[in-house]
Amino acid sequence: MSCTSFSVDLLVVTPDQLRKIDLMLAKACNDDGSVVWTMNFGLQERQNTTVPFADLVKLAVVLKPALHDKAEATALKGLDAGQTSAAFVAGDTASLFKQGQVSKRRAQSDAQDVIASRSNNSPTA
């Protein structure tokens, strides 16, 4: 499979300076020719501009385009509305996992389900 490795990272702070969004998409190549897409999604918020940002969502998801069309569509078209909302929920799950309140399996499952939440009506790859 054709592969060169690259990454794109977009960080945006909203004009009111209260939210910071950071999305990183990375493509890695393996010696066996396989390709791995990774997505890191972070959202930080603060109540006013005099306090530092605090993590609201911090999520790392490995996308496997060979296994799922939605993964490749996500990598090439971005998260759709449902996936974005699912990412916020997955952020809560990740937080609960850190506190020992849900299993690691569940935290991983919710992260992968961000991709599965893509609407069939959203753009395809």
Partner: protein, 709 residues
């Protein structure tokens, strides 16, 4: 003069960089091609060694970027002599990305695009010693919120990259830079600028600059400080304390000045959809001024030499929309003849500048970009005489811009600018003597379009079929995240949250049900109950923690295929089946009943959610995205690493009193642009030369294009 000298310090570095870029362009002709440049696995079978590893960046002339890249190189998984591996090469790309992103931590920035791409080249694919080069290319933007929207930062960043970057995130200590230049009035001049950082003090830096020529000399020392207030309105505060001395010819006259200045300057964050930045400042100055035209001064109610005191105030705005950027400034100066409160004159200045770029539709994204740029500037001034007017405070014009404010954070022209007449000679031969004027205006028009260049996004990067879609994907995701967070403030969603009460009641009943399960249950029942317990923990977290963010989570919680509630329902089905299998029929029925109630609530709530109009959230998010789209568009479709453009100019200037009237300048030249830093050299014809004037003048300028309109 000092301002001109200050920007000149960048020349040697830029020229060297451009020379290297041109050299680099010529080199690939001798390079060996790779038969499978896009298939790294082809070279990952253990038979290729890495000849060299390079990290390149279009902006590695910025000191902080260059230093970061140099520090990364020894840590890369693949080093010269290693066997090539696609996996390890990818890990290197990941390391570079992490380090560059980390270098920006702690820097206030409203936007950052960071792209790192790896490529292989110069493959030797025959013989036993097979080799290749591994090259990583990184493109990053690390401008902070205020600096993105004003012309002056980019000038500072590019003129003196090391010192500017140091104010944000570097540990620079001492910087010495030689510079040189030429204009017909000052002749060939040279000098040096020394800047030292002062960590932890009120002032951030101290700078000393001096330059000299057979005709002129300039010296300056300045303490400067910057603060970033934690305010939603004020973005930046700057303050300066300095002394400067200048001695410059003005026709048959000389202008000499020595003065102390103390300044305060502030700017707001970008406001509104046009990224409007308001700026304001004040400067208190005192010293002395001398000229050599005593007789002419006496006959014009002026004074050739005197003490000097001034209080200056200035206010301005910069704004941008689409391909147009605008800056407007007004300055007022109340001046005295020394340490006195008796105001001798009041000077008023207006300076308006606009830049428009027209972008032709591009058919090949790997070519350099060819924006047609129109730059227009109009400025004028008038002096109200209340007493004797120092000659050095009168208006002198020519092909060197004079700044109203000492220092370099804000550029307001304080005299007429016309490129066909040498510095300070606009009315240098007027019948009332070479003593300048008391009012003026000038209009300057510059047109340019590149005819050669290299795009800032390298060809290899732009040609990668995944690169542009990945940038689009990041942009689309940012928009969706903004829409989601904007939903949090819509009243309709706050009302919807009240309607979650029945669902919460069902979840509370479920919690009681789980707690009531017997302890001696099978492993299957226990596992299924654990999954439901996880669901409950997540639903409680979503519904009860940080309720202000709940609207952004509702789709993922209720609506999408793999929503939290859908998974809960599935896990309740599994639990019911496990309870049935364990011959616990009553408990299974209870689980089924709760499951059906929750499913009913989900159906009702999803239907209600679908009816909510969130177009206002979309509108606000799209407004937020304008700035992001503008920056992305600039990087992808406008910005060249280096370009050469023919330039056309047209100037009009008038100064009063001057019996020769309105003067013109028409000419052309060539502009060398390095990213957004422009060096323009040309000749402007004086179409109607007056007595003792030449046919025109060479002009030389350095300025910065406002990239992120």
């Amino acid at each position: 003069m000092l301002q001109v000298a200050k920007v000149l310090d960048a020349i040697p570095h830029k020229v060297a960089l451009v020379a290297l870029a041109v050299l680099a362009l010529a080199l690939p002709a001798s390079a060996q091609d790779c038969s499978h440049p896009k298939n790294w696995d082809f070279y990952s079978h253990g038979d290729y060694t890495v000849r060299q590893v390079r990290i390149e960046s279009p902006i590695d002339f910025l000191h902080s970027v260059a230093r970061t890249l140099d520090a990364i190189k020894p840590s890369l998984p693949l080093q010269p002599g290693d066997v090539f591996s696609a996996t390890r090469a990818s890990a290197g790309r990941e390391l570079i990305h992490e380090r560059l992103a980390a270098a920006d931590n702690g820097v206030e920035q409203s936007f950052r695009l960071l792209v790192v791409i790896g490529r292989i080249e110069n493959c030797n694919e025959v013989g036993p010693a097979r080799q290749l080069d591994l090259v990583y290319q990184a493109v990053t933007t690390n401008y902070n919120a205020y600096l993105m929207h004003t012309i002056e930062f980019k000038r500072s960043e590019i003129d003196r990259p090391a010192t500017t970057a140091a104010t944000s995130n570097a540990n620079g200590s001492l910087l010495v830079k030689p510079f040189f230049g030429y204009n017909r009035t000052s002749q060939l001049f040279g000098g040096a600028q020394l800047t030292a950082r002062i960590p932890g003090g009120i002032f951030n830096s101290v700078g000393v600059a001096a330059s000299g020529s057979p005709a002129s000399n300039t010296e300056e020392i300045e303490l400067a400080g910057t603060r970033t207030p934690q305010s939603s309105i004020l973005s930046r505060l700057e303050y300066r304390l300095g002394y400067s001395h200048t001695d410059t010819p003005a026709g048959n006259n000389r202008l000499k000045e020595g003065k102390l200045h103390a300044q305060l300057f502030g700017a707001t964050v970008p406001l509104g959809s046009n990224n409007l930045v308001l700026r304001f400042g004040a400067s208190l100055e005192g010293g002395n001024q001398q000229t050599e035209s005593t007789a002419a001064a006496d006959s014009n109610d002026s004074i050739a030499s005197s003490g000097y005191g001034a209080l200056k105030g200035y206010i301005g705005v910069t704004a941008s929309r689409g391909n147009v950027s605008f800056a407007g400034s007004y300055g007022v100066q109340a001046g005295t003849l020394g340490a006195s409160t008796s105001v001798a004159f009041v000077k008023h200045l207006v300076d308006l500048a606009a830049t428009v770029q027209f972008l032709p539709k591009e058919t090949n994204t790997t070519n350099f970009h060819k924006p047609f740029t129109v730059e227009a500037r109009v400025n004028g001034g008038v002096i109200q005489q209340l007493g004797q007017l120092p000659v050095a405070e009168r208006f002198f014009g020519g092909n060197a811009s004079q700044d109203f404010i000492a220092g370099d954070s804000w550029n307001i022209r304080s005299g007429p600018f016309i490129r066909s007449i040498p510095q300070n000679r606009l009315n240098g031969f007027a019948t009332n003597g070479p003593i300048g004027g008391t009012s003026f205006y000038s209009v300057n028009l510059t047109l340019a379009r590149p005819v050669w260049g290299l795009p800032i996004i390298p060809k290899e990067m732009a040609q990668d079929p995944d690169f542009l879609p990945a940038v689009d994907a990041a942009e689309a995701t940012a928009r969706q995240a903004l829409i989601a967070t904007r939903k949090n403030n819509l009243p309709a969603f706050k009302q919807f949250i009240d309607h979650l009460a029945p669902l919460k009641a069902e979840l509370k009943q479920l919690d009681g049900f789980l707690k009531g399960l017997p302890s001696n249950i099978s492993e299957d029942i226990s596992d299924a109950a654990a999954d439901v317990q996880d669901d409950l923990a997540i639903t409680n977290q979503v519904l009860n923690q940080n309720q202000s963010a709940l609207p952004s989570k509702l789709d993922g919680f209720l609506k999408v295929d793999r929503s939290t509630i859908t998974k809960l329902i599935e896990h309740l089905d599994t639990l019911k089946d496990a309870l049935d299998a364990g011959h616990l029929g009553d408990l299974a029925n209870q689980a089924k009943s709760i499951r059906e109630s929750i499913a009913t609530q989900q159906t009702i709530l999803v239907a209600e959610l679908n009816r909510i109009d969130f177009s206002e959230a979309t509108r606000l998010a799209d407004k937020d995205m304008r700035q992001i789209n503008s920056v992305l568009k600039t990087f992808l479709h406008e910005l060249n690493l280096v370009s050469i453009s023919p330039v056309g100019i047209f100037d009009v200037a008038r100064i009063w009193p001057d019996q020769f009237g309105t003067r013109f300048g028409i000419g052309g030249g060539v502009r060398l642009s390095l990213v957004n830093f422009n060096v323009t050299l040309g000749y402007a014809v004086n179409p109607n030369p007056r007595v003792q004037e030449g046919r025109g003048a060479f002009f030389f300028s350095m300025d910065v294009t406002d990239l992120f309109r």
